[in-house]
Symmetry: C2
Subunit: 257 residues, 2 copies
Amino acid sequence: MTVRSRFFTEAEGQAVGVENAAAKGDVLLVCEHASATIPEKIGTLGLSQEVLSSHAAWDPGALAVARLLSQSLDATLVHQRFSRLVYDCNRPPESPSAMPVKSEIYDIPGNFDLSEAERFARTSALYVPFHDRVSEIIAERQAAGRRVVVVTIHSFTPVYHGKFREVQIGILHDTDSRLADAMLSDAEGSALTVRRNDPYGPEDGVTHTLRLHALSDGLLNVMIEIRNDLVANEQDQSAIAGFLNELMGKALSSIDE
Amino acid sequence: MTVRSRFFTEAEGQAVGVENAAAKGDVLLVCEHASATIPEKIGTLGLSQEVLSSHAAWDPGALAVARLLSQSLDATLVHQRFSRLVYDCNRPPESPSAMPVKSEIYDIPGNFDLSEAERFARTSALYVPFHDRVSEIIAERQAAGRRVVVVTIHSFTPVYHGKFREVQIGILHDTDSRLADAMLSDAEGSALTVRRNDPYGPEDGVTHTLRLHALSDGLLNVMIEIRNDLVANEQDQSAIAGFLNELMGKALSSIDE
């Protein structure tokens, strides 16, 4: 048994969730912060149940919206089945945020002074198989002559360090802004407050997945950030997914690659 | 095909070499810098053939000595089949030396400004499977109630930054010095110059493999550094392997775990 297989209990299975694997659409949805689950082996990281179920541990609503988009866009969805507090799959192992010692206002005691063995176990069990799987799906599609569009789905907290955020939907990009530009242009006049690289941008290190899988290969890509109070229940999740489905469909059909 | 399988050509195979897998001895030999081979996908890293075959790329003689010890100690040997200039398996991904931009006096142009995708590919193809394999072997033996002793085999250049090194055999350890202490004590009076944590020590970050696999589990461990002018031909390699075999055998039988 390898480190990664010993990391999880039998019931937990493994790190990567893949849904709608046989999808025919161009979009590949990625949800790195889909889950608040902490593997049994890790325990509570010294945190209260309140923190462990808060946005510090995951992006509430992101997986639900990603699943709806997976259906409406006929898109394969790859999601991480464990909390970013254990390993944040949108960060490379050399980033201090990969296994964070602090998240907004909370210290993460279980991540203080991690041994090299513990860092290796998490990197090997959570990060590598996740991106290996995304990479594998992209390579298979490219080999079959299919177009691949990488879209990552995130949510953010309305109040951060005590300040309210006005932006409702963030359209984030790194050096390739083709898809983001088209979506932002189509979103003009929308009732929702849609902004470019807000509340985060590439300078915050949030475009790791885009850099890994899209920028290196020239694939269309975008990162979507949804304010989590807009996706707190099923009805609202449906509304936001519908909005994004429309926006993305329009943008993609307008881009002539 | 995962990133790691696409990283190598079919002829190259994969990163990890395992020899004497069914060995009955307690020692597990690890040779992280066994090879100067650069994967085809990587090219020359902008280096001359001279540098690519120098100690910058590998530890000359280390694999040869490790193979002799593998026979005499009846020890399984795990070795890296590609150069440390691509990924140094004795360094974690967060270390700048993992994919070094400089090695002693040489710049490594092919490692300047590596993309996150390239860093991921190397980590995933070279580092993770290597230590996963070591970890797997240790876990299997522990499950079978066997004792495991982790011994890493390295060589160093006699002249470093223009200065000659007097030490001939370095016995290196981190916080657990049990095996190193016993070996150093047995080496007293030897014709060879054997020294503790010389020419490197844990402060140089060279005990990563020991930390990963031995310190975390309380396994006896040591890192052996051989001055490479002493293992430049088969006869000398035999002599040094004989010396180390004797030293390690004596030390191990004297330690009452």
